[in-house]
């Protein structure tokens, strides 16, 4: 069925079949790549794939078709583990790629293979409020006030929600001088103000924007900026807390798949291309924070500098996952009658 269905032909001039592959790559004139990604990158990858395919063709003469799969980050990692033949994964948090690596599909040292923890772009956790900020929400402490409805997805099923949870915990830990019990008390108070836990980030955005529920949406900065783009300016505004978390959406080649399919060269080039100035500019356009210093400096006003804690503060993803989001973790305890 594959050839009959129209996949997104990134470069599709039928006459190009005659093109002879030059120098670099294999004799195969056409190549396909499957990028298994998470929901918020849809718009970015749509544009990036065109850019990369054009560049790849210029360099090798190969016509590259990039197939895209989107869903929640955790679900996508599981699909790859269960056999989805992804050449590259571009997911929402390192834990998800670690999970794939743990099952032998990706080399354990994946995160050090590319610059900046293998995260070509970053984001952070911010607040989206309704125009005029009627509830006067300015920082984390405002989220636990009575009568404030906070919309955020379920950390059990959403990678973005885990970043949000940890950002809140990070703030509260600092606010309470490192007292963990009191910090968790703050997080508990925050989640008690949450009327709906959607399963994914987009679900939460829809609940907040379309259904009109809640006073503040807690989530990805890129999602908040996109929501304003899509719904039209003037209806919502972004509030950036003084302290937040450095959310690093990582990327990796799936070693087992690319070695079997013979697509390692193009897959690695695809990921390296994410670090080029052109790609970084594109990331900015789709509301991700660029890693490239020059590009970042150019857009310093778009992405105000915040005090950002990192995942290392929580002992890395493996520790954080087990302690907070596993069965019986601190998130579960929030919903148990104490």
């Amino acid at each position: 069925m594959a050839s009959g269905l129209s996949r997104r032909e990134v470069l599709a001039t039928s006459g190009a079949m005659a093109l002879v592959a030059s120098g670099v790559a294999s004799a195969e004139p056409n190549v396909t790549l499957l990028n298994v990604s998470y929901d918020p990158t849809r718009e970015f990858h749509k544009a990036f794939d065109v850019l990369f395919a054009a560049d790849w063709r210029k360099r090798t003469g190969q016509i590259l078709t990039i197939n895209q799969s989107y869903d929640g980050s955790g679900k996508q990692a599981r699909a790859v583990v269960d056999g989805l033949q992804a050449d590259v994964v571009t997911l929402g948090l390192a834990y998800d790629i670690d999970s794939i690596a743990q099952r032998g599909l990706i080399a354990p040292n994946w995160q050090s293979r590319l610059p900046s923890n293998s995260s070509p772009y970053t984001s952070t956790i911010v607040f989206l409020v309704r125009a005029g900020n009627p509830k006067g929400i300015h920082d984390w402490l405002d989220l636990v006030k009575p009568g404030v409805g906070v919309i955020t997805p379920n950390p059990n099923t959403s990678g973005g929600a885990r970043w949000s949870y940890l950002a809140a915990l990070g703030f509260a830990t600092r606010h309470n001088g490192g007292d963990e019990t009191r910090a968790l008390g703050f997080v508990r108070g925050l989640y008690h103000n949450v009327p709906v836990l959607d399963t994914g980030a987009r679900g939460s955005t829809n609940t907040f924007v379309q259904r009109g529920l809640g006073d503040v949406l807690l989530g990805w900065e890129n999602e908040a900026m996109l929501a304003i783009d899509e719904v039209g300016p003037g209806k919502f505004e972004i509030i950036r807390p003084k302290l937040s978390i450095l959310a690093e959406p990582p990327v990796s080649v799936v070693d087992k798949v690319v070695d079997k399919r013979g697509t390692r060269a193009v897959s690695e080039a695809y990921l390296k291309f994410l670090y080029t100035v052109a790609a970084q500019e594109l990331a900015v356009k789709h509301h991700f924070r660029p890693r490239n210093r020059t590009v970042a400096a150019r857009y310093a006003s778009t992405f105000p500098a915040l005090d950002l804690i990192t995942i290392e503060r929580f002992g890395g993803w493996k520790v954080a996952q087990a302690k907070h989001f596993a069965d019986g973790g601190t998130f579960d305890k929030i919903y148990q009658p104490s």
Binding site: R78, N156, T157, V196, L197, T199, L213, G328, Y335, P337
Partner: protein, 292 residues
């Protein structure tokens, strides 16, 4: 396929035939039966075997602990209580609708009859999005209910409302054929003998319909308890409050706990199955009692 069936039949020549099958003059049993078994085996039994086999990689104590967790229990309770309540309402509503469709003529009857199956055919995600739009605080119905202080979307009540749509076709479609076959002469006789409409209904019609109603009830219940797509958008998904059983399965999968997910799935299936078997048994009893 029918051409395929006899060849399968010869492969799986059933030698003990006489011992367990009554002889019949009709041909074609072996072929049809072999195909039925192979197909049911591959499509139903094989995957279910995988489900049944999976939970045991945990120790039995862990398994029980995983299911008896307050959060899991609350989710299972919500799924089954909402399914039960919706099935009860659907049994009543389905009876009225089937009755109206089969006994009265009114404009548009055929179209209405066809629409009954819609919840069954509509993708669950579409139904879910539509319901959330409809019952959300700014939706058509949600905005009408809000001043009354009734919240449907993102509460356990939302689960119940979503299941009302999911289960309705099962009851209507179970009742309709029986209603069709029900001899009107019986009703007329009852009326001639002086029974009023309510008496006729209670003494003549309801007993005849009760096995079908039970079937519809149990199918609506089983389907409702397992429903995911249309519920997830309107439920609110708050652990312990509006989180449904199938979401717990999804959550476990998210943590790569396949065994735990299969355990919850198996528990849900067992409960649904128990209800189906119980209603089947009740049905047989009803049928025996009803037989002249």
């Amino acid at each position: 396929m029918v051409a395929l069936a006899p060849s399968l039949g010869t492969i799986l020549d059933v030698r003990r035939r006489a011992a367990w099958r009554e002889p019949s003059a009709l041909p074609g049993f072996r072929g049809a039966f072999a195909f039925t078994l192979v197909y049911a085996g591959l499509i139903i039994l094989l995957p279910l075997a995988a489900l049944v086999a999976r939970p045991w990689e945990h120790s039995p104590a862990d398994l029980v602990h995983g299911i008896l967790q307050p959060r899991t229990l609350a989710a299972l309770r919500l799924s089954f209580v909402a399914a039960l309540a919706a099935a009860v309402v659907n049994t009543a509503a389905g009876l009225v609708i089937a009755w109206v469709l089969n006994r009265y003529d009114f404009p548009g009857r055929r179209v209405v009859d066809a629409l009954v199956d819609l919840p069954f055919a509509l993708p669950t995600a579409v139904a879910g999005i539509a319901l959330a739009t409809l019952y959300g605080p700014n939706g058509w119905i949600g905005s009408l209910l809000a001043p009354l202080g009734v919240k449907v979307a993102f509460t356990p009540l939302g689960v119940f409302v979503a299941l009302l749509a999911v289960g309705l076709p099962f009851v209507v479609r179970a009742v309709q054929p029986v209603l069709e076959d029900l001899d009107t002469a019986l009703e007329e006789a009852a009326q001639t003998l002086g029974a009023n409409t309510l008496q006729t209904f209670a003494r003549v019609i309801l007993p005849a319909l009760s096995p079908a109603l039970l079937t519809g009830f149990s199918l609506a219940f089983a389907r409702g308890a397992g429903e995911y797509g249309s519920v997830i958008f309107i439920a609110g998904n708050m652990p312990g409050v509006s989180e449904i059983g199938p979401l717990v399965i999804v959550t476990r999968l998210e943590a790569y706990d396949y065994a735990g997910a299969a355990a919850v799935g198996l528990t849900m299936l067992a409960i649904s199955l128990a209800v189906l078997i119980a209603t089947n048994w009740a049905q047989v009893r009803l049928a025996r009692r009803g037989a002249p």
